[in-house]
Amino acid sequence: QVQSTVFKPEYALKCGLEIHTQLNTGNKLFSQSTNSATPLADVPNHHTSFYDVALPGTQPVFNLEAILFAMKLSLSLNSQVNMVSQFDRKHYFYGDQPQGYQVTQHYRPFARGGKVNLSRELDGIDESSKDISIAQLQIEQDTGKSHYTDTGKDVVTLVDLNRSNVPLIELVTNPDFSDIKQVKAFIKKYQNLVRHLHISSGDLETGAMRVDVNLSINEFARVELKNLPNTSSIINAIKYEYQRQVELISRGETDSLLEPETRGWTGSSTVKLRSKETTIDYRYMPDPELPYINLAPDIISGVAASMPELPDDIMRMLMQK
């Protein structure tokens, strides 16, 4: 069924992506504990400082290397870097969230705007050229990792905080995608870019890059798709969800599409995780102790001058020869 999905013009797909990219800085975001490049081989909870485990009395100290990496990415996407940005707390309880909140950027993110150009020539999309615009880029900390074990009687989660406080960049695109090829091409291109800039391994398999999808059809409410471990599940989840919604619309059963909801991917279908009524209120609060990021203008020109030539420019140059 998934393979045979046909995208019909009368059911217009509107889709945007939220991509979390782990930065391969030497140390973590608000402590100097090791940001391990080989998470699978690690002893659990080995790379954790007192801060990473949220011991009482610990405080965050910002690792400026994350600025360097975020700056490189922002400049290569033509995003507008905010000369002053700030960290905010996003609150929710979870076993692998040791502080009970994640430090992220909500009110004044690191950068806004910018775009990625996709073309038939370089990316194999149907249109000759298409811009995917960027809403914003924010620096934030990763959570730990949960391993679920089901003993039959009850569920126990084993929590490893090696990943806790690893720097992430969350990139949010506008809902500019109108078909699957564009999504595929964008992910590939973005992956290639972060590797080229040496800021991340960009691997979906290891979780170094994680993609959530926002999707809506014909101005119905937005559905967010989560837990998409690789490119094929991203593609298949979009196809499945498109098909599911088209069927609901064509049958006139659109009640469930009026409110936004969050759905997960099981490997063969999407399932509802939560709807609006149970949506968590994250209670964003400006972090009361982290200083604002205040940039001097020369930082932009400095980083720009240090950047390698971008992949698209190299390709175009090669093709002109």
Partner: protein, 460 residues
Amino acid sequence: MPLKRSLKQPLQRLSDLQSKYNIFTSINTAANKEQTNKPLTNYVASIKDNIVTKDLPTTCASHMLENFKSPYDATVVKLLKQAGVHILGKTNLDEFGMGSGGIHSIRGAVINPLYPHEQRMIMGGSSSGAAASVVCDLVDFALGTDTGGSVRLPACYGSILGFKPSYGRLSRFGVIAYAQSLDTVGILTKKIDVLRKVFQVLDKYDAKDPTSLNDELRGLIEKNMKAKKSLKIGIVKEFNHESLPNEFHQLYPSFLEKLVNLGHEIYPVSIPSVKNSLPIYYTLSPAEAASNLSRYDGIRYGYRDSKLDIKDGVLFAPTRFKFGREVKNRIILGNYNLCSDAFKNNFIKAEKLRVNLIDEFDRIFKFPNVLTDSKGNPEGLDILLVPTSSKLPETIKKFQEEESKSPANSYINDVFTVPMSLAGLPTLSMPLKEKTPIGVQIVGQYGDDSTVLDFVESIS
């Protein structure tokens, strides 16, 4: 000079005072190592039990951290140890620093040693044990924490000195957060020279604390300092309010007369925004507290429910149920203030009004404010005088009754102390009369701690 006898504290006296006044949460039984040639050799101190220590448990007087032992020392503790201080024990407090009576502790209320213990008078909070340890002469000085008055009120009720330095001067690394935008470490003692020495040892930039005042700004403050004999002193109109005790009215004029005779000038001053301080404080501080206390879930350290980590679909509820009543009240209020609907009306509004308050203080002080870039008012004042408390200590029973009628009844105890916390001003509460729980606060501009200390020294 340190109290020589406290070095070899007869254990009997210590345990006698402990059973009467409930001062400590834990006592260091190790003998004092004799050290020489350190700035604070032979000094004995107590540490409030929301400041982490390697050698003694850190409980915050909460079930959530019963039996918790930190793997590291707070920077302030480290500095004291390096200076040769002997730490006698950790002191009782209102759970996580939340309270003004010193009664909200899993170890029970601290009793004020200024009164016969049978009377069961409150010590004031939240640094209740810290104050009591000084009042009883068990230590030369105590470290407390002051978020909205928690050092100054118990110091006043114990008729001792309580100093809350400028925000950011003493490191908060290892100080368990209540509301970081306001939390400060403070010093309680009977003697101004001891206070000064301890302050000098602790007054250092700490890279581990992102809010620590950096060396560049410390240098700038130093440059702005001018020694002066005669000060321009302001009495703030808005702190003149009807509920001040008669005893204050009796003692205060002669104190002022003494200052006039010493050649100081006294001015009336109006700072209208101080009237807004309590609603600002009780919007911001519970919000920060709700956020800071969300890490106590039992998973990684501290108390944990023996059976469950989830109840009624709420993760960690079985463990977090063990927070005390007052802490729960503030968490709920804090989350209300942070919810998207209230955030703009309450939290943001409170922040803006806090800016107004800071700006008003800037307008009346002569000393520049290095944080706001205020150049200082050339015609401005050097210090302000503010009563410390609107009430005398009352019995624990009466305090509990008032508080159970409305939480606001105990919040009002902070009316004279909170404005300076919001602006981060160096403030020292000193008794107006020996062994009498009536105090006045000496307030300086941000960063101008030395004028406050000099002044108190000059009149002591």
